[in-house]
Symmetry: C3
Subunit: 339 residues, 3 copies
């Protein structure tokens, strides 16, 4: 059961061009491409005629021709050609989805198009703000999307999973402060006078201790941005330290797998490609560590016959409340559609 009336990331803006690209999103097949004018387009990737994948067809101008019997659909999903037949049945339509390019990514609305309000796109502005340099990617993870948001809302795991890059003892030892504001969940950890983790040291040549902040913001259904700061102890000086946002948005492929869209966007050494490459490589390695943990977790939950109720701790405040928000929104959505 997924929230449908909301925006999910369908692709990185850089991934879409004039070739047909297939993505499964919340259990539905979608074909993505850019129109000749460069506008992103999303249609259901299933020919209404005989269920062939439109993404295996051909893009002709701004229309998609099915690779099986040649039915052709425009950007609105209307059928514009049936080979050997003049009349086009009204039902011969491929569903089209609202799409918007914003914050480095292309967003898709899987629910009622009438409700697709761009203002509801999660605020991930640091992905696309002058004075900030962004690097990122997408990772397929064989785990339910909420295992990924759980992961991002409790960074305690950095101490145990990410010792080579962004984790050290301080993270796990420092309690968090958390609160819920409307549909957002905020979690914050402030570590004073603490050794910098390995990647911070390498990126900013930090030698002494730092004050370190992790300011986490969850926006439903599955975006988590982390304002990460590490400044020489007592200075509060970004110039001497590190500040970046780790911006994450998780798109459910189906109940058991997800596309994990991520960026690191920083406000220092803006044009330093070496720093960009280093950060990209190290953060990717970090997320591959998560992937391994999360996929093992998914497998265990699926395979273990026994129903087990998980035991929570204080650090789970964020993930528990984020799940509650999504659960409430899904309930509202279903109530709405039932009315």
């Amino acid at each position: 059961m997924f929230l449908k009336n909301c925006w999910y990331v369908a692709a990185q803006a850089s991934e879409l061009g004039r070739e047909l690209t297939q993505r499964w999103i919340t259990g539905e097949p979608v074909v993505l491409f850019r129109s000749e004018a460069g506008k992103p387009v999303a249609l259901e990737d299933r020919c209404p005629h005989r269920s062939a994948s439109l993404s295996k067809g051909t893009l002709i101008g701004d229309a998609v021709q099915c690779g099986y019997h040649g039915m052709t659909f425009d950007c609105a999903g209307s059928c514009v050609r049936i080979p050997g037949q003049e009349q086009i049945p009204a039902a011969m339509k491929a569903r089209s989805y609202p799409v918007v390019q914003k914050w480095h990514w292309v967003w898709i609305w899987m629910g009622d198009p009438a409700k697709a309000d761009e203002a509801l796109i999660p605020d991930l502005r640091y992905n696309d703000t002058p004075g900030w340099t962004v690097t990122g990617g997408v990772l397929k993870v064989q785990a339910n999307y909420q295992l990924l948001t759980d992961n991002l809302l409790d960074l305690t795991h950095e101490t145990f999973v990410h010792t080579k890059t962004i984790g050290n003892a301080a993270v796990a030892e420092t309690p968090m402060e958390s609160n819920v504001e409307g549909n957002e969940v905020h979690v914050q950890r402030v570590m004073r006078n603490t050794p910098p983790p390995p990647l911070f040291k390498r990126v900013r040549n930090l030698t002494g201790n730092i004050d370190r902040w992790q300011i986490i913001r969850f926006q439903p259904p599955s975006s988590v941005s982390i304002d990460a700061r590490g400044f020489p102890t007592g200075t509060e000086d970004a110039e001497q330290g590190l500040r970046w946002f780790s911006i994450n948005s998780i798109t459910p492929i189906d109940e058991r797998s997800s596309n994990y869209y991520w960026t690191i966007t920083r406000c220092f050494a803006l044009d330093d490609q070496e720093i960009t490459d280093l950060v990209h490589k190290q953060i990717l390695a970090t997320f591959l560590e998560d992937k391994e943990v999360l996929e093992a977790q998914q497998r265990l939950i699926e395979t273990d016959d026994r129903k087990k109720i998980e035991v929570s701790v204080k650090a789970d405040f964020g993930s528990i409340h984020a799940r509650r928000v999504v659960q409430r929104l899904i309930a509202q959505e279903n109530q709405g559609s039932a009315a």
Copy 2:
């Protein structure tokens, strides 16, 4: 749900010899071999004792010895030996299936043996007629067998899937004529003064336009023969043109996969091995294109959660009526067995 009281192709005649061959047919395991006298034999491929595959055993004379505990069964499936025991329980019997070698293939009757009438074998005589040269094979396709008969009953797809061999624009543009005669469905397309498709050109050195016929005959449950003709425009002269039958019979392995038996049988250049090899290679490549489309279609139907009603067009007349015939025959069969 499969039709059982009917003939399916179990194997190409050339495939069967003195080794034990396993085939799954309509969800049941079957072991096939030839007797010492050369007669094809089919038993259920499941030892009644402890469910070992008889096909992993040994053929001794005309009897199959199970490879696990040595129970031995004759061509009628009667147990003729239980090691270490004189008395043979009446229930120790492997089911035997009626089999007939006809039209290049070995046919099996999966239903009530008392109803197995050879006259019900689909008429595919051009597979085995003097003055015709046949080449063919069998292809495993991960798709329901009716997706394959659908495919063969609407050749519009040649224009989009088979542009390298037998498809060009004329096919899709020319309307079809169709009709139902008893349990048979007939679909016909006549293309006048049209460019020959690439393979016709190569095989018959055609330079100018042709008149082209596709005369399709469906016989239940899953045989489709296509009388294909391409003669220089206005000549109706087979000598200068191409005529062959594309003969196809699809055997369900289970609900999700099929064995696709196919031949091309031609009435020209009978002894020209080069032509035989060319046709075989090109038609196999053509059917591998179908396989890719059909398997993608099957995957989509299985994976997409949403129930979708497909929208039909005029060109679907043949496949729709062929499905209706099979549905009616299955209903009659079930009614019969309930009575």
Copy 3:
């Protein structure tokens, strides 16, 4: 449905050390290791916090630290650390299982710990008796554990499956004597003045005929030991012949797969490593033949849609009664837990 109040082999004693080892047993994930004192320990391999596999964590002294958020559990499964939190909820406990090292193997009790009586460990003493040399291993087999015990309780199959090592015609031809004693099932075959099978010849340089005994003892839920003897005809002289125990214990991984623990323990040529290597290699090859048969059997039972009632023969006495014992014990266990 598995018997839980009983001992299963969890590992060979030699397999366990200071690294964390995962095994699935009767559908439950278990993590195994040795304490600093060398005692085998078994915990459920599922962190009660967020279902990570504890076996992917770290062994610190005698405690297991979860690799995800650092929850740490002692050998009794009690949580001794929650990072960033003083108070430990009572429910934060990993289940611990009784384990005992005995007869070359480490045994685990998957049911009610209060009922875990060491006296109930199957008597496999020849795995660990002075004057006997043991070799063995563990094999994963994709088949239900009872297909394996069936296999061991009817050695008729040696004649058909193991012709290269321990099977010849005499085995299948000689009737068995069987009886049930309490929860044990005994099957015995005595072959007088019979040619030795190939492996017997090689191991003991036997040239003439032998008297051969197979004395099989089933102890529930899934241990089968075979007292195998082959002495020159009429001599009853172990010195000139072969005597070993084939000791087998099958641990269900889940309903469809099993770990097959096996040994051969012999009372001759005790220190002859060449003989040990030969026996190990040949018996492993023999059991790989069984694995192939058993996995095909499992696949057939799973894939064939039709429900088929198997037909039994006299040689099935042992396996039928062994299954009845296990069925009765499971029924008693469920009745007990319902009461």
